[in-house]
Every structure is written in structure tokens, then in C-alpha cells.
Symmetry: D2
Subunit: 348 residues, 4 copies
């Protein structure tokens, strides 16, 4: 495997850290010195002592020329709105970019502008960017210049419903996505609600007026279904650092059995290396995917009401962010898709 160099911009946040952690065990990619505007000049391992002896270089400042000189690929983990203007500078210098923000996730810039209340400086790139969902856009990712890494909630939700929507097996008008996330989903922000004493022993729903991942979920569900769709999506925070579980409620178009559901999911994900359809009777568990790029899914028939329930567990920093990014980067670099990702969950 020819070694390729990756620059990580915004490396001191949780997603950046997780990607660096995964790269420590990767045979093909080497990380360039991490880039962090707020910690420029400070050794990365001083900011994050878990990386002592592994990533000791000082953080570099944000500089597209320096990145172009150092890297084959750049991963940007910048706030929404910031990426939109920074990423084009990297593309202009011939770099291939995987962006963690929402700035290039929407095919329709108007949808982005409605959800994020920001004008989009480069609507042209919305058309070019590939939504970095490997199970659906594997080939396009491989050759993309710009990949928009999906949100964590969309990843968990879409993997739960894709087999059903693709088969036309469910009604498109009554889907409910109830999802819970660990606290790291809020990022490394020193804000009161994310303090230990305000998050421990607490479960709370949030964004009841509309989470910005909702239109992202709807965009991809609509593509899958071949028709415009709306979903009800309620995110919750639960007291753990990592982990996400989506519980999705759907109505079959015609009566199905548990065996039908299982067959449908097994067939749909048969060749997917990072999606695991659980055995009957088993339910996904966030700890089983902690620290990994796996998504564990299981469909259930509620015999009482005829409704379908799909459970889907990911690590919000793993398949929901950094591991999914690495899967896409492997595709972009021509490496085996799961290089660095054949990891067992840190279940204990």
C-alpha cells in the first residue's frame, strides 16, 4: 500500500481526535501535523495527552498552501459555514477533500440555506460534492474531489430504512425516527448543558422545533424512495460519551412477516463490510460498536399493530463521523475499504 498523507483541519475536536486515533493503526495513511487554529503552535499531545508518543507535533495553523504542500487528502472538521468558504481554497490547490460539516451535504443549496440559515457561498459545489455514504454512493465517493461526510443521525437513520425504502416495502408518509446520542455529539464545547453534572443521570429530547439533520435525512430518504418524503425526527441526549441508537417506526405497504424482514435486510446488506444485520432475538447495543465503524441493525415486526420497528446502533464518532470518513477516504485512495476499520467494539 503506497502511503498517502492526510491533513486534518480542526483536529483538536472530538471528530478530529477520533480520526487521528484511527489513523494510528492504519497501514496506508499517515497523518500530517494536525491543524488547529485555536491551538496553533502547541504540541497536539499537550492538548490531548492520550496522544503522547503518537502525535507530538505542534498544531499547524490554518493555511491552504501549507496543506497543499503536505497532503494528498484533507479532512475538514470546521463549523458549518466556515467549511463552505475554506474548502474551495483546498480544491483550488488540487487537494481532494472530505468535509465533516453540513455545508456540502445538500444537493439543493436552498435546503441548506433553510436549515442552517446561512447563504451558501459556493452553490456550484453542492452539485459536485458526493454525499459520503459508502453503502449507497461507493463508486462516486471513490472518484470524488469533494465528499460531504453524513451527519451521525442521518447515518443511523438511513441505514435503518434503506432496505425498506429501496424495496418500496413501507409507506413513505408516516415514518418516525426516535434517536438517542451520547454527549460527544455536541462537540467539545464548554457550555453548561454539557457539563458532567448537567448531563449525568439525564435524558432529554432537544431541538423540538426542528433539528438540522431532519432535512438531511429527508433528502436521502427521498432519493431512496423516489419521491419527496417527510419524517418525524426527535433526537435525545443520554448520559454516555459515545453511541447512538435510532429506533425507527414504519408502516408496511402490505402485511409482512418477521422472516420477510430479516431476509430483506440480510440480502440488502449481504456484501456490506460494516453493516451487521443481527440474528433474530438480538438487539443492537451501542457498546458493541463503540470505537468502531460498524452499524448494527435489526428489523422487528410488532405483531400487535403490524408496524415495523428497525433498530440501528452506531458510534456517533465512529460510523457516525470519523470511521465513516475513513471508509470514504479508503475508497478515495484506492485502499481496501475497511483498512484500519476491522475493529472490535470497546464493549467494556
Amino acid at each position: 500500500m503506497e502511503r498517502k498523507r492526510i491533513g486534518i483541519v480542526g483536529a483538536t475536536g472530538y471528530v478530529g481526535m477520533e480520526l487521528l486515533r484511527l489513523l494510528c493503526g492504519h497501514a496506508g495513511f499517515r497523518a500530517a501535523p494536525p491543524v488547529s487554529k485555536s491551538h496553533a503552535g502547541r504540541p497536539f499531545s499537550e492538548v490531548h495527552p492520550a496522544f503522547r508518543g503518537l502525535v507530538d507535533e505542534p498544531c499547524a495553523d490554518l493555511d491552504p498552501d501549507w496543506l497543499a504542500a503536505q497532503c494528498d487528502f484533507v479532512v475538514t472538521a470546521l463549523p458549518h459555514g466556515v467549511s463552505a468558504s475554506f474548502v474551495p481554497q483546498l480544491l483550488d490547490r488540487g487537494l481532494r477533500v472530505l468535509d465533516h460539516s453540513a455545508d456540502f451535504r445538500f444537493r439543493d443549496p436552498a435546503a441548506y440555506e433553510a436549515a442552517y440559515r446561512l447563504p451558501h457561498p459556493r452553490p456550484d459545489l453542492c452539485a459536485e460534492a458526493v454525499y459520503g455514504w459508502p453503502e449507497r454512493y461507493r463508486d462516486r465517493i471513490a472518484s470524488a474531489r469533494l465528499v460531504a461526510n453524513p451527519g451521525c443521525y442521518p447515518t443511523a437513520s438511513l441505514l435503518a430504512v434503506a432496505p425498506l425504502l429501496a424495496a418500496g416495502a413501507v409507506r413513505t408518509d408516516g415514518i418516525v425516527v426516535n434517536a438517542v446520542s451520547g454527549i460527544s455529539g455536541a462537540g467539545r464545547k464548554a457550555e453548561t448543558p454539557y457539563l458532567y453534572c448537567e448531563s449525568a443521570d439525564d435524558v432529554r429530547a432537544y431541538a423540538m422545533a426542528g433539528h438540522r439533520h431532519t432535512p438531511e435525512i429527508e433528502q436521502e430518504m427521498s432519493f431512496l424512495a423516489g419521491e419527496a418524503m417527510r419524517v418525524t425526527f426527535v433526537p435525545h441526549l443520554v448520559p454516555m460519551k459515545r453511541g447512538m441508537l435510532a429506533t425507527v417506526y414504519l408502516e408496511p405497504r402490505s402485511p409482512v412477516t418477521q422472516a420477510d424482514l430479516r431476509t430483506l435486510f440480510l440480502d440488502f446488506y449481504r456484501s456490506e463490510p460494516l453493516v451487521r444485520v443481527l440474528a433474530d432475538g438480538s438487539t443492537p447495543s451501542t457498546r458493541s460498536v463503540a470505537g468502531t465503524g460498524f452499524c448494527d441493525v435489526a428489523p422487528f415486526l410488532d405483531a400487535r399493530t403490524g408496524r415495523i420497528i428497525v433498530l440501528s446502533a452506531i458510534d456517533n464518532l465512529g460510523k457516525g463521523a470519523a470511521a465513516q470518513a475513513l471508509q470514504a477516504l479508503n475508497l478515495m485512495a484506492g485502499f481496501p475499504e475497511t483498512e484500519g476499520l476491522r475493529l472490535a467494539g470497546l464493549a467494556v
Copy 2:
């Protein structure tokens, strides 16, 4: 307030402990020596050192005559099936009983037998027993000989939907109850799945083939709606000791506004001392009700889909068990309904 004496049978479990804890601050009730078959003869505070200096008596063995001699009321926290045969012995001795098991929650013994797969030894008492939901059966509880304390999931779910079902405001055929519970809901059982290392950092759904609280929820929803109803109910465990959040999805019969919903809930719960309808923009949080008998509820309109979402938070050991029991016992004894229950949540 004339002092009344309460016997607690099965006192060393989590519900028994919580009731004893609440009774430490109660002006009217005194606890008789706690009853525990498995710890008979051992000082209660040796089993549970949190009670040192407060409840130091040895645990008494299970003996209906002793209870009849000691107590005005008996609370039974026994396994399902055990209560059904023990409680009648107490009633026969003239005691008034509040039972925590499911044995007397069903008006129809057949529903009980289907859910718990046990024959019911005293179907006659199913008719007599009052479902201990004070917000609905306040008067009947006050004069009851036998009160069946509701399950924790039913309590959270029913308080979420009661205003809507009672008003006929929602369709009865598509209700989804997604609920999460702290680990104490599983009881004090030394089983692998409830070990710290198997529960921390984990969220998992369970009982996908049908939780036994489902028919209990359906019974009371059906009574509210005036027609037989079925719901989809999915319980989950989350890593905290106490707390329960129900997220309920419903479809309005005709279009409603957020203001309509809020008015409906405020009116419905206006006189309820332990149900708090939150201000708009605020969402229930399990830590705000920890250690208390409060239920915090808030209805939301999902403008995108027209669906109604109701959030409802309780402490599964509080309003979901011991505090609700104490509320009923206050009614039974003629004490002020919230005596010993004007507690602030242990939010930190």
C-alpha cells in the same frame, strides 16, 4: 395528623428502599419494621447502610398475622404471581393493601394471564382492585381496600396521552410510545446484563417481542378513549440509575396548533399537584424529577408532518413506583395528597 403505620413487604428491593426513604420525611406515616424474606433477622441498615440511624430494626419475616398486628396499611413489593396469593391473606385480616406487582392491575384476568403467563388465583379481586393512578382514579383510591400501583412505563405513557385521548383529539390507531428507563427499573437482580460494565455506555431496546407493560398501557388508554386500542411500545435501557422518559407520537384527528396543545394540557392538569406542564420551549429532563413524585410533561407539534409529540419524564422509582404509591397511600389514609412529596429533584 394521626400517625398510621405502614408495613413494607419486600423492603430490601429498590422500590421498598425508595418508599422507606420517602417515609423518613413523612409527617403521618411511620414505617413498621421492614419485611424481607431473604434478609429476615438482619438489621435493615446492615443490608442498606444508607439507612443507618434511620431504619436499624431487623427485617421481619413474611407473616400476615404479624403484619395485621403491626400495621394499618401494607405495601407489597413482591414478584408477579407471588402477590396474587399473598395479598388476599392480608385483605382477609382487614388490612388495606397497596400492591406493586402487576397481579391486580388488570380488570380482565385473561389479559393478565396472557401477559404474565400465570393463572390468576383470585380473579374476583381483579374487579375490586383499583388501578392506583391518582390523576384518574383519585376518589376510588381513597376508599379502596386494594390498590394496584401502576407500572413505571404505563405511568409515564398515560400521563403523556391522557389529555389528548380524553379530549378525543387524536387518532387511536397509530400511537407510538418510545420510552427509556434507568437501570433500576430492572430491580435488584444480580444478573449479567445489569452489571456496571455491561450497562454503562450502553443503550439498548429490549422486549421486542412484547413487553408486559404494553397490555397495561392499552387497558388504560382504551378506558380513556372509550374504545379498544393498541399501541406500539418500545422500551430501552439507558445508563443511569433512575429516570424514565416517554416520547409519544400521535396523529391529531384534525389540525391543531402548538397553542391548542398547550392549552389542552394546561387545562387538563391545572389542579394536579404532581404533574407539571412545562413552559413552551422547555423539554422534560429526567434529572429534574429525580427522587421525586413529579411528572414533567410537554406537548409539541411537529409542524413538518402535523404529528403531535408528547414528552413525559418521571423517576421510575418515584412517580413510577414509590412516590406514586405514597400519593395513593396519602389518599387512602386521608392525609394531604402530597404529604412527604413536595420534593425538589436531585438535579445535581
Copy 3:
């Protein structure tokens, strides 16, 4: 019990919240509208929804005249240095004050100035103030105009060593206090190290260059021993909201037995309502004192080395702060010392 009114200044912090929570069940004290400079005008229960229906008044601004008009007692939970200049204004208006800061804990203003690196504006009050340790200064607290509530680490440490130092049973030159605290000890500060994701799964020592509680511990140990003493004190943070355990290592002056130690502790604390000496074989546990004013202590002889080990558990917000304050306030008001404090720990 004649009702007395307490003003709480700095009520929205964790100590203020805990005191308000305890006052909800107090027969003698009523809380005046809480005072908070940063949340003035905002309903307290909007800031802390756990208090809905219990403390709904808007927070009052910091105003000594208003406090003098409203209150019999004032509890100040203000930053170090701020109390020193605000408290005298309350005393001047005839109020009796219990102060949670360190500003009046030192008899010698120079010790305060060395530890807190602040000049003391009112050294005269250092002489007058009573260190609010009820087990030692009960009578002086009862008549005090100004009580300085002890720090949490000093409380746990001093209760562990008092019987031994008072009896002259241990060497004064080699004491080690190893202590752990829940995260709430850091206060309600939106700072990165106290985020959920930075505190969960973590244990870390801090203040290795010298914690400000060290000279406070030394002051009181020196008084107990009747000679100037120094201790080695290392505090640690552990992933829980509340709770503190001190593990103290001492050398006996002459050989002792486990039975000697036990007798010494039992005798010393025989009349203390809030210190519980555990039975042999039992060890203090933070969860047994959670939410309470109890301190659980147990001495052990390390037969291998002849050293004495004393374990001491408190709730850092309880006996380590608000419950200890309430104990002192009960004394000041002439109420029974444990009014509102006969609480069972929230062990689950």
C-alpha cells in the same frame, strides 16, 4: 417552631440549589426569594426546572438592604474574595450570616492571604467568625454572628482524624490525606475539564502544587493536636456528580488494636447525630450518604505495617456544604440540630 426566613445569595450554583432543596422539607426555615446577580429577574425554576412548583419566584438582585428587610439569616455562596467585602455589609445591617466561601475560615488572615493570594479587606472579622464545624464548635456556632462553612475536603478529613488527634493517639508529622471528589465540587462552571466527555471514565489528581484546602485542614488539625501540623493532601476527581471519600493514613504513637480504634471512634462520636461510625468489616460508601448530611467513618488497623487507615465518606454538597450549613443554621436559630436532616441517602 417559629418560622425564620433565610436569604440565599448565589442561589443558582450547586450549593445554593442543594440548600434550597433541603429547605423544601424544613419545618422551621422558609427561603426568601433566591438571590442571583447573573439571573436576577428570571424565575428560579426557569433556571433550574427541578424547582418548578416549589421555588418559582424571580431571582432577586444582590442588595443588602433588600436582604435585611426580608431575612433573619443570610447564606452567602459567593466566590472567594467577593464574600469578604459583601458579608460585612450584611453584618452591618444586623443580619446573621453563614458564608460558604473561604474568606472567613482562617483565624489568621495571613494564612488566608497566602492560600488565596488576595488581601483580606476585613481581618478583624477573621477573629470573630466561627468555623462552622458543628461537631467541634457547636456552642460557638449557636451564638455566632458570622459562621464560615468549612470546605468539603476539610470536613471529610477532619471528621476522620479528630478522634485520633484529640486523643493524642497518632504522630502529627506523617499524616497523608488522599481524597476523591465528585465533579460538582468544581462548581457550576462551563469549563472544558468539567464537560461530561472530559470527566466521565476519568480519575485524575489535581492541584499537585498545593490545594487551597490544605492550610484549612492544617489549621484545624493543629488546633485539635495542640501543635502546628502539616499534612500531605492529594485531591482527585472521580466520575460521579456528588460524593467524597477521604482515605487518611496515620501512624499510631504506640501500638493499637482494631478494637482500640473502634472504641475510640465510637466514644468520640457517641452523641453526634450526623456522624456514623460503621460496624467492623463495613466500609464507607459515598452512595450511602448521597443527598444527606451524614458522614460515615471507619478506622482500620493495617496489621502488616501497624499504620492506621481511616475512611470517611460525605456528600460534598451535603455534609461537605449545604447540609452542614443547615446543621449550623439550625443551631443558630435554636432549632433541633438535625431538623430537615434526618434523610436516607439516595443509594440507588
Copy 4:
């Protein structure tokens, strides 16, 4: 790297799981089908779903012949006393063994028998076995037939004191080791004290009458010091799954400075790949080593008392068990010592 095959006996416990997890990313070792007496015949990934797609083979039963046919090395994670009689059967079949129990950790069988209250069936092997502490016995491990993996507390404690004892810089008679461990240290045992609801929010010391790791610590400290030594050791449980912090208190033989201490530690560990001496001002943190084989150490001078304090953090399942085992196995197999162990801590 020539591939070697490792059999893991007792693979379904936490240490076995962690070793399997580490082996997933190892270039030289391949895991044989895991051996578990209690789960024989059941697919490993059914017992531990985190291993789906990675370790799906059925668990094999305990059979020395089968192991001899399959493996180059065997790791035994069996209860104390069981290893002593099983391991010889493996050695007799020509296998090289790394044993996780205490059965071969003591050079003197009498010390083992005193600590574990079991007669030792093969005292001859006590002399042959090598204590698997790579930083001290690297060469002997490389050629050993039988390696006894150190206990977690001994590992953290010994790495904290080795530089000081080896240099003769501290008194040998007054050392105190105060240590805390995550709950996984108790193993995968369905016992009440390790339930989530009994461990969360709790810190408690245990084994006050003498922990079995004490004589193990003393054996190796005595070897380092060149004289018989006793220590005071108090272990505590804290509410996290993994992680261990030792806080060690020592008295210098002659006055030292912080700079002296730092130089001593830096020199002593200069060539050690898995021991990180922290920069001044930094303190070890269990989350920085979570999931890794690192030990982070830092010495401090308590200027107030002249005492030395050394902090040492490991993952009790990592450097305290499975990662240390892998380090030793790498040495035994002639692989690079840190193969599979250049991991960043799962700090979030």
C-alpha cells in the same frame, strides 16, 4: 512477520475479550478459536456481539490436546487455583504459556499459599515462571516457557516506585499506595455489588483486611530495593468501567527537588516504549490510557512536607492485563515489543 497462533482460555471474561480485541489489529498473532468452558459450542460473537464479523467461531471446550494441536502460545485467564493445575498440562505438551492468574506470580510458594489460602500443586514451576513485567524482566520473558502476568494494582504501583527504589532514593518502610480501579477489575461476575445501580455514583475502599495484591507488590518492591519491604496498600472502586490510578506516597532518604525527581524518572524510563513520564504540571489521567498498554507516570514533590508523591495511570484491562500480556507475548514470539500496541487512548 511469521504468523503465530494464540489460544485464549477463558476468553469470554473481560481480560480475554480485551486480548481478542487487541489481536484484531495485530500483524503477527492470529487468535485460535476462543476457549470457554461455560460457553463451549456457542459462537463467541453471540456471547459478545461486539465481535460479530471478527470472531464468529464457536467457543472450544477446555482441552490441552486440542490447544497443543492448534497453538504456538496459550494465554490462560482462569480463576486462581485452576491455572495452577491446568497450566502444567499445557507446558507438558510443549506449549509456551502466559497465565493471567496469580498462581505463578510468587517466587515463594509459601507467599502464594498465605495470600490465596490454597496449597500450590506445582511449587517447582514457581521458580521457573517469569513475572511478566517487561520493563524489568524483558529478557527473561523473551525466553520464558511460562510467564505470570502481573496483577493490575502491582503494575500501576511498581511502575510508580521502580525509579525511586532502584535508585535507593526513598525510605523503604513508610510507603503508602492508594489506588482506585474501574469496576471491570472485579471481572465478569453477576454479583450484587457490581450491578450498575450499586456501583454508579459510588466510591468505596475494599479488602481493608488485606488485598491479595499486597504481597505481590511487596515481593517485587523488595527485589527492587534489595531488602524485604512492606507497604500499606488500599484499593478502591470508582464508577467507571476501566482505568486505574495509583497515588503513591514516599519519603526521600535525603532532600530532593522536583527537578531531581523528574530527571530520575525521565532517565529511568527513557527507552521504555509504553511508559510515559509526563511533563511538569501535567497529571496522569485514566482516560488518556483507556484501551491502551500505556502507563502514564508523574512524580511530585510535596514542598510542604518533603514527601514524594507519584501518580501512575493505566487501563486495568490494558497495561494492567491484556496489553501487558500482549507486550510479553510479542517478546516471547520475537515480534517488535509494541506490535499492536501503538494505540491512542479512547479519551472520549
